[in-house]
């Protein structure tokens, strides 16, 4: 079975529920500390041994300097390996803080090259200037490029809770957004309860084009601000006591999609 790496460092704090999401689906996940893949530790690990690397949520290095920046700068020592990993069409995903790391690392938006030296986007401070924890409604707008969300039909609306202070996606370059739309790289967008694109608080951070999640041009690098791992089962949905649903919550298919792909 293909191996999954849940990558963490000090301050990563959603690794347990992310790990469990894979375990519950019989995925072969393990925790790896950044020191291990940077060969700063005796128990070394190698990127190439994994079919999927997930960077979970949290506050890596306290989000000091900028959310995800320190984690990304440390990972950038492995640029070559990361580019290879992406070009071999393996999966690299980031949730919340992980998304911030992938953007700071230059693998998202990921247009034209697997990893760009210059950063092309940023997840910056929410318009409210506050950390906010609130349920968000997302429309799956991807036409099929994103490998991580293949189990969601197009236009399906899901509930994933958000909890972040820096989630406002801003692109550098005039035409980045257009290209992303053209390339089918937009994956999730915030909506209101009627399914319309609305302002705050439905879009909790002021993100460009109401974007909550994107993938790279190849569809194998994916970042998302809200937390699918927190709604793996229905009973952690924010409204499960009033809108009855089955055993699984809206987040489960995301992890299932990953396993579909890596386990063939």
């Amino acid at each position: 079975m293909a191996k999954i790496c849940v990558l963490r460092m000090e301050g990563t704090n959603c690794e347990w529920e992310t790990f469990l999401a894979f375990k519950r689906l019989k995925g072969d996940a393990e925790f790896v500390h950044i020191k291990q893949i940077l060969k700063e530790s005796e128990e070394e690990r190698f990127l190439e041994d994994y079919a999927c690397v997930i960077i979970p949520g949290g506050f890596s290095s306290g989000d000091y300097v900028r959310a995800g920046a320190i984690f990304a700068s440390r990972l950038s020592k492995l640029k070559k390996e990361i580019i290879e990993f992406i070009e071999e069409d393996k999966l690299l995903g980031g949730i919340c803080n992980g998304f911030q790391v992938l953007v700071e690392l230059g693998v998202l938006p990921g247009i034209g090259e697997a990893l760009s030296e210059e950063k092309k986007a940023v997840l910056t401070v929410n318009d409210s200037n506050l950390f906010e924890c609130r349920p968000t409604l997302l429309r799956h707008v991807n036409g099929g490029k994103c490998i991580f969300t293949r189990r969601y039909t197009k236009d399906k609306i899901v509930i994933f809770p958000s909890a972040h202070a820096e989630g406002k996606l801003v692109f550098g370059g005039e035409d980045t957004l257009e290209k992303m739309i053209e390339n089918d790289q937009i994956v999730f967008r915030y909506t209101d309860s009627k399914g319309d694109y609305a302002g705050y608080p439905w879009n909790p951070n002021g993100s460009t084009y109401n974007i909550a999640g994107i993938c790279n041009e190849r569809g194998n690098v994916f970042g998302l601000m809200p937390h699918p791992e927190r709604v793996f089962y229905s009973y952690t949905h924010p409204d499960w006591t009033r809108n009855s649903m089955g055993v699984y919550g809206d987040g489960m298919p995301l992890f299932k999609s990953i396993l579909d792909y890596i386990d063939g």
Binding site: I70, K119, V122, S128, N129, F171
Partner: protein, 80 residues
């Protein structure tokens, strides 16, 4: 030796902290406040090396970590 690196938001990039601070100051009665911008400064003590180097080094720090060019400009000053 010390380098001081100022990281500030580019023209046109919204500054929620500045905006909120402005609102709070005005509510507190500072009604002549027209605008507030925030910036972050890193004061970095370096082991003795010459000036030329340390500016270059500070630039590298910005590129690799301290700034994101999509939204940030930076200024570097060296103090002995």
């Amino acid at each position: 030796m010390e380098v001081e690196i100022k990281i500030k938001l580019k023209e046109g990039i919204s500054d929620p902290e500045g905006k909120n601070t402005k609102k709070a100051l005005r509510l507190l009665g500072f009604e002549d406040v027209l605008d507030v911008h925030t910036l972050k400064t890193f004061r970095i003590k370096l082991d003795d090396s010459d000036e030329g180097d340390s500016v270059e080094e500070a630039k590298e720090m910005c590129k690799k970590l301290l700034a994101n060019p999509v939204i940030h400009d930076y200024e570097i000053k060296v103090k002995k």
